[in-house]
């Protein structure tokens, strides 16, 4: 979950519905004429630009995936100066959107989304009884065709039979004779989690293929509250369609003052205060140093311009500009204080069209499992061929809650940057302490939080005297946290005249990031991470395509290295941290211009080398006039798509019942390497691989009033 990389591809797009918003836009322009003077008696008049945009995307297997209408007003005013500040300026951007996809394609992304589901129940004909210590031939431990949600053979009734000892292997204490209640906490039915309005986790990307799967509610949270995570992923249909109109006032994209205070000898202080984006770094597409603002992947996954998806925060910056010194051509120091209440990246909610790494569906399904229980495919007695679908009850597995950091001084985020130019080479040194914008899943055991043991009504196999509940190492029950991260890094750029290119380098080392790790009883661990991007830009004439205008060729290589990576090999496969220890993503852009830059075709390609995934995104921008721009595009992925990783079915959190796989001692805990696409394969597949089936064509119309 901690992959901090992203890359943008220009919004793909083009041509409908402009008339819908023309009236609103024109009204906005008129209103701008009457904007307040902000206390300035001098300065310049307001400068206001307003545009309307329709962005329509059509996806291969789900049809319409975006019909987003945007009105954006950019209003700036120079307020002049006073005795303290030589200049004061106000900058603002207001944005409102309405995405019609939730009503126009409601059976995929709206109130009618999802339906009844069936979940894999092992491979037909395979007897999974021995894997849990039962004798061969127990009827409900035989693999069958997929079963309906709620019909997992491991349920209250059947598990009761197991726990009475009827089927347990010799030597395994069971039933009342061993002091256990002849009961359990599996479910026979789910009155609060009916089999409708759901999809099987990962449905659009892969088959379950013997791995883990469960139902994921799809409708917005005002239609279906199942799996909605309070304060994190709980948007209703209005908030999904018009995300800016929320209690964080996101329709104010930006509103900040810029004040410049002379400090003598050509030096100055530059202050910025307000809701804003603060951008660090020198590279495109990837976020190595550019991590001050969280980003909103729900707009268009990783494919929108960062400017449009950074989530502006209330930030104060103070910058001391020293100008040229005897050593540096230019140098400055910037202090950044992000004093806003914490906000995570928006990863896209379950049931919505844009979810980076498919995280939204996974989280929603897991939250639903915790709240209501649910059937999990191929779970009990699982081996590499599958397992028996299991009806977990509530509060046994899943995601319990998200711990959203409250506002406090210690929860604010502080950074400092020293930047300059030395002998023509631009450089920066950066340091930032911030909250991870990506979630970390720490299991309840790691925090001493108890959960229900599905096999007994009271606790682990053997409870201490007086103990009624317990925590369970390796159990897949989690809370979501956003840990603090400390980052140090730097960047530089320079011209390489010999190859007529410019070079950009950006790097960062972080401490505090947390990653899934099935080798740990906590199911996560911390790792220092080193990331870098090396970029080369080269304008190049390609005469047979255009004799008079060079093409921009831009190549970048992004590297990510987990310095505390952990990986082991068990009898059935690898386990540990699913994120690659060393991975690289390469991007290549070729962009051309014709008709005096009124027509600009481009192709962006990206390849995730370890994930064996790639994306090709051709697009053509057509500037019909200064006021009207059309963009046509496509986004095609290829490669392996889904990838597998140890899925933690084999941790044996509830010994002896959950861990006799492969004939091991049923009291032994820890993974043996059972793998599947879900849930951790997403970290192997990466954001490109996880969107493998989300090929799209798009058309965007932007009209400036």
């Amino acid at each position: 979950m901690q992959k901090h990389h992203t890359f943008k591809l220009k919004p793909l797009a083009a041509a409908t519905g402009a008339a819908l918003m023309v009236g609103f836009g024109a009204g906005a322009v008129r209103a701008a004429d009457n904007l307040p003077d902000l206390g300035s008696s001098g300065g310049q008049p307001w400068r206001v630009d307003t545009f309307y945009e329709n962005d329509t995307h059509y996806r291969d297997d789900t049809g319409l995936s975006k019909f987003r209408n945007t009105v954006q007003i950019e209003a700036d005013k120079d307020l002049g100066g006073n005795s303290t500040f030589s200049s004061i300026k106000f900058r603002s951007k207001l944005r409102g959107t309405y995405d019609g996809v939730y009503s126009m394609n409601s059976d995929k992304y709206g109130k009618d989304a999802g339906g009844p589901i069936r979940l894999e129940n092992g491979r037909p004909g395979v007897d999974y009884g021995p894997n849990i210590g039962a004798p061969p031939g127990v009827p409900f431990l035989q693999g069958t065709a997929p079963v309906a949600h709620g019909s997992g053979p491991i349920n209250y009734t059947n598990a009761t039979g197991l726990l009475t000892g009827a089927y347990m292997a010799a030597g395994v204490p069971a039933g009342p004779a061993a002091g256990l209640a002849a009961t359990n906490n599996f479910a026979d039915a789910y009155p609060t989690n009916p089999n409708n309005g759901m999809i099987v986790l990962g449905k659009y990307l892969h088959n379950t293929n013997g791995g883990v799967a469960f139902g994921v509610p799809q409708a917005p949270c005002d239609y279906d509250k199942r799996g909605c995570i309070k304060d994190y992923m709980d948007a209703n249909s209005h908030e999904l369609a018009s995300p800016e109109f929320n209690d964080r006032l996101d329709f104010i994209r930006e509103a900040f003052f810029v004040a410049k205070m002379p400090a003598g000898e050509g030096r100055s202080w530059n202050f910025q205060l307000g809701k804003q984006q603060v951008v660090w770094g020198r590279t495109d597409l990837f976020r190595v140093l550019d991590v001050i603002n969280p980003v909103d992947y729900s707009r268009n996954n990783i494919y929108d311009e960062l400017q449009d998806i950074r989530i502006p925060m209330w930030i104060f910056t103070a910058e001391y500009r020293m100008g040229a010194t005897n050593t540096f051509d230019d140098t400055n120091i910037q202090l950044v204080w992000n004093f806003d209440k914490f906000r995570p990246n928006n990863l896209g909610q379950g049931g919505t069209p844009n979810q980076i790494l498919g995280a939204g569906d996974f989280f929603r399904g897991m939250k639903n499992l915790w709240d209501n229980g649910g059937t999990v495919a191929n779970f009990a007695g699982a081996d590499p061929t599958g397992g028996i679908a299991t009806n977990f009850g509530a509060h046994q597995i899943g995601i319990r809650k998200a711990h959203m950091p409250e506002w406090s001084l210690e929860n604010t985020q502080v950074g400092i940057k020293w930047e300059g130019v030395y002998q023509g080479t631009g450089f920066s040194l950066n340091a930032l302490t911030y909250r991870s914008q990506l979630p970390s899943l720490r299991n309840l055991y790691s925090k001493g939080v108890t959960n229900v043991n599905p096999f007994t009504s009271g606790g682990p196999f053997v409870l201490a005297p007086g103990q009624t509940t317990a925590t369970y190492p390796y159990n897949i029950a989690f809370d979501i946290y956003f840990p603090r991260i400390n980052l140090v890094g730097g960047s530089m750029d320079m011209q390489l005249d010999s190859i007529k290119s410019s070079l950009r380098v950006e790097t960062a080392l972080t401490k505090g990031e947390e990653f899934a790790n099935t080798a740990k009883p906590e199911l996560y661990s911390e790792s220092k991470v080193w990331r870098y991007v090396i970029g080369l830009d080269r304008p190049t004439f390609i005469p047979f395509l255009n004799e008079n205008r060079a093409f921009l060729l831009s190549a970048q290589l992004f590297g990510q290295h987990l310095l505390d990576h952990e990986e082991h090999r068990g009898p059935w496969g690898k386990y540990g941290m699913p994120d690659w220890e060393h991975n690289h993503i390469g991007t290549f852009l070729i962009k051309g211009w014709y008709m005096n830059d009124r027509v600009s075709p481009q192709i962006i390609m990206a390849r995730d080398f370890q994930a064996h995934s790639y994306v090709v995104a051709p697009s053509v921008e057509w500037l019909y006039s200064d006021n009207l721009k059309l963009t046509f595009g496509a986004n095609v992925k290829g490669g392996d798509g889904a990838r597998s990783w140890n899925d933690a079915r084999d941790g044996n959190p509830f010994p002896p019942y959950s861990g006799a796989q492969g004939g091991r001692n049923p009291m032994e805990q820890g993974m043996v390497g059972l793998t599947g696409y879900e849930p951790l394969g997403r970290f192997r597949a990466g954001p490109i691989g996880m969107a493998n089936k989300e090929d799209e064509v798009s058309i965007t119309v932007r009209y400036k009033f």
């Binding site: 900040f256 050509g266 951008v279 020198r282 023509g424 011209q495 080269r538 830059d597």
Partner: protein, 438 residues
Amino acid sequence: MKKTVFKLSILAAAVLSAGLAAAATPDEIIDNSFYPYKKGFPSHAFVKPGVVINKSNVDQAKDVLDPAMYQVIKNGDYEITVGATTSFDLHKNYVDQTRAGLGKVKLGEKNGEIVGYVAGRAFPEEPDLKDPRAGEKLAWNYKYGINWGDSAMISPFYWKYRKVETGKIETVNKFGFHFLNYKHRVVIPPVPDITPNPSNLFRGIYMKVYEPLDIKDTQLLIHRYDDDLKQDDANLYLGFQRRVRRLATGQVTDSFLGSDLMIEDFEGYNGRVSDMKWTFKGTGTILMAYYNHNDQKQLSTEFKEKDGYQYVEFGGKGGCYPLVTWQLRQVYILESTPTDPNHPISKRIQYMDKQAATLSRTLIYDRKGELWKNFIIGKSHPDHHLPVNKGSGISIDDAFSMVDQQSKHCTTGQFRGEVSKEASPPSMFTVQHMRGAN
């Protein structure tokens, strides 16, 4: 006919330079270089103030037109109204600095090397056709020319992209351009240099886009080093990315924001001396767009300014040509050939105004050697422009036209230029300024 003009010019240059060489006192050199009209203005049997040169009579003016402009008029694309030749006296300090440096400045061994230069015109002596490096000396005169002076601003600066055949205006860009000389300053304090200047920068150009929305807030910063062998640094801030991108060398020889200009075309030539092989081809007297802005009969009413300033109007075919008066000017004819074999052009033929050392007429040839672009820069006398420019001794860039003869497309520029210290402080010419939401 072109050859004839050249032959005449070359002959004239040879005679003139021989004469000057024989009796070149410092005063004569200075007068010849900075006050070429002291002894009288050029005259012509047909080309007189008030005459309108059009396709019906252009042949009578052929000997005072460069070949490209002759053809434009011959085609009926443009008519030139002749104005009286006037003296564009440069600032006294610049002339004084030139005088102080007389005889002390030498070319180095390599193209791009100069020795002994402090300020003013580097090589005020009359160029000699027999001098194989005469063109290079003129190039230095241009590089260290007074141009926009020590600090200046063009804002607003309107660029229009037009189709020649239909006159359709495809886009209107509104820019702000700022210029700063770090070294060899002569008028605006500090002189001669801004310090500290650890990398020994010579000049900075900063540009910002205000309109249209598509490229709004795009900014460009160019740093030119005093060491001409050192490559310029160029950085581009893209508003939609909020990121500064270092430009590779090649991007200064590519279309600038879709216009018919490349960054290298700015001001006539915006590159290093060492990027070209310079050849002095002779002298001449031709019509160039030099005029008094305030005296132009037809100024544009399109863009309103609070102080009533009006921009130059454009007309002619496609609206590609400035409707200003042209006057007879003494020029040096200069040919520049790129040293980079992959450069998109094969050569420029430029007509350098002898008095101002500016490149007001440029003919650009494509890699096949065919005429590609026709570049006009209109120059206003500073005393007949905005009040702030009065007495600045700088010929004010006031209008430009770059016509792509092959694609039938043009870019026109309408300036509001001000010689100003306050509008172009050194802090503006930094990468951080571009990032700072300014």
